[in-house]
């Protein structure tokens, strides 16, 4: 059994008067892939965005309950959100490279955090991040072309490289393959499998096959509640809850 990296207790999220999450309690293990599945609008992305406090950006969104990362409470006004987010990388549904060169996209994080001192160090980090994201071979001759000139799958791997360049512990992925074709998806899934040796990964996905392929643990959300959580294999072969059973067999959702 791995160590618990992120632990949430009774997390409630309200958008204005509408409650989006109901008392979600979930532990996320270190160096594992945890998949969050469930029908659209069930709150899985909302939950993901609680972990790096991304919901702060939405004025009407209120989060309460307790979330700890490395045993430190993060739902509190005193938390340094900036340093929290530097510890938690995020990859979004739609690839969102900055309007900069490929190099600058990856160099962005290390530069703003002052991780590197010399240009050589920076180049080193950029190269190693691109390599770990499996993109280096394809782009090493055109690091100074705009990141937006890459294909969708390459852009998404660029975003992964950008996230791991600041050396986070956790990577949150919000449906990272939903805008990609099957081949690019397969590449990303392989990459996720490799990355879990070094990072704790939480991935929101619509594709149950994807959850089954890449994750060790799975949580099933429905109508803002975490219905069931457990080892992926168990969830997909022998779920305890009727709703989970219904969803994974395609009866609803």
């Amino acid at each position: 059994m791995n160590n618990v990296k992120v632990s949430t207790k009774n997390v409630n999220v309200h958008y204005g008067t509408k409650q989006a999450l109901h008392r979600v309690t979930l532990d996320i293990n270190e160096k594992e892939v945890t998949a969050l599945i469930g029908p659209s609008g069930c709150g899985k992305s909302t939950f993901l965005r609680c972990i790096n406090r991304m919901n702060d950006l939405i004025d009407i969104c209120k989060v309460d309950g307790s979330i700890t990362v490395d045993n430190e409470e993060i739902i509190s006004d005193e938390v340094d959100v900036v340093s929290l987010r530097s510890k938690i990388g995020m990859v979004f549904q739609k690839p969102n490279p900055f309007p900069k060169s490929i190099f600058d996209n990856v160099a962005y994080g290390p530069t703003i955090h002052g991780i590197v001192e010399t240009k050589t160090d920076l180049e080193e980090i950029v190269h190693s991040s691109l390599k770990r994201a499996g993109l280096l071979k394809e782009v090493k001759d055109r690091l100074h072309e705009p990141g937006t000139s890459l294909s969708g799958g390459q852009q998404q791997r660029l975003c992964i490289a950008r996230a791991i360049a600041v050396n986070p512990d956790i990577i949150l992925m919000d449906e990272p393959c939903s805008a990609l074709d099957p081949i690019a998806t397969a590449t990303i899934e392989e990459l996720i499998d490799e990355l879990k040796n070094k990072y704790t990964i939480v991935i929101v996905t619509h594709s149950m096959q994807q959850a089954a392929r890449v994750s060790q643990r799975t949580g099933f959300f429905h109508l803002g509640e975490l219905v069931e959580t457990g080892e992926t294999q168990k969830i997909f072969t022998n779920p305890e809850n009727e709703k989970t059973q219904g969803y994974i067999t395609g009866r609803f959702g």
């Binding site: 950006l57 900036v82 987010r85 530097s86 995020m90 979004f92 969102n96 962005y108 703003i112 937006t148």
Partner: protein
Amino acid sequence: MFYWSLIIILLGIYSAYIFGKSRITSNSRQLEIKTASLPTYYAQYIMVWCLLPALIVYFGWIIFEDQIIQNLVLANFDFDLNPALNASLLIAEIKNVALSDSFAEGKAIEILNAAEHYASIKYVSSISFYLSILIVMILGVMFASRKLQPSFRAQQSIENYVKYFLFFCSSVAVLTTVGIVFSLLFESLRFFSDVSVFEFLFGTKWYPYIPIREGQSGSQGSFGAVPIFAGTFLIMIVAMCVATPIGLFTAIYLAEYASPRVRRIIKPLLEILAGVPTIVYGFFAFVTVAPFVKTFGQSIGIDASPTSALAAGLVMGIMIIPFISSLSDDVINSVPQSLREGSLGIGANKAETIKRVILPAALPGIVGAFLLGVSRAIGETMIVVVAAGTAPNLTANPFENVTTVTVQIVIALIGDQEFDDPRTLSAFALGLVLFVITLILNIFALRIVKKYRERYE
């Protein structure tokens, strides 16, 4: 004449429409073939063929009628009677007499005869005007009604006509611009036949007074436009130094920091600022800012004149703020939220996100806003007239009087000069240079924007 002809045309196209619709319906019924398009399109087709010839006749008549009648009247007039009379004065007098009896008193008999002649031609002309409009409308409908067959694809033709109409609309602006360029060009050429291009472009003394008589005391006029362009440039720089940072920071605040409530209040207020007439800014500059600038100048030991480039530039900058802030705000708002989240998700703070992601992404739009501001600054007149003086000084000291191109154009065109006086004509030369400068600025701006677009999209 105007109203009646409009009514005729409207009635004409209405009946053409009705005619077209009923004819195609009955044709299709007779032949028992379904029409290729809806009956409305056939009706519209007939309508176009009714309207177009009518409009051509209408505008042709308006443009040429007067000239033709004048020539007819003058051809019959015996000029020998009074050789001093100028033809254009003469025709004006004949027209006046023809229009109203009160002018007729005490006029020569030739004039009275001519006036009568004029009135009769005018009468015939107006009758034939209505008749020819009617005739061309009927001809148009007759011509087009041959096409009223169910197999005719009326919708496609109508769509074609619409396309031509849209093309016509878009070419109006282009043709107007071409016309403006040519009128500027020809008048400027007249100016440059008196004053050398070299002197105009590189001379440093602007003294646009030519002695009226030979041997008149006072110096020869000189038309060196450098001080004027330097003044324009100086005021533009001052204005943009005020407007760019304030406008940009306003936009950043509004787009990234302001709560929706604050935004709802500030944005309309700024837009009101954009609607203040520039002459009001001029008062403000002259009454409030200029004395302040003078006092300020004295306090740091510079002798400022009561009206100065600085005063005008500062107020002009205020005037331009809303243009820059409003446009930049729109541009910043249109930067996708996903870029913000991407940057914040890496652990960048808000300032870093704005500085390193949002502003670069919004740059083409911001450059556009800036250049729009520059062209406003160059084209602005009233503030400068009131607050910067009219003295063509060649100076880089913003505490001094300066003048701008637009102000000199105004000065050249008001007053009682002859139109072939170089002083008057200088307005066109100045306008031409202004036009060329803004053209170059625009081309430059478009290239910058395009370059960034290629890189970022």
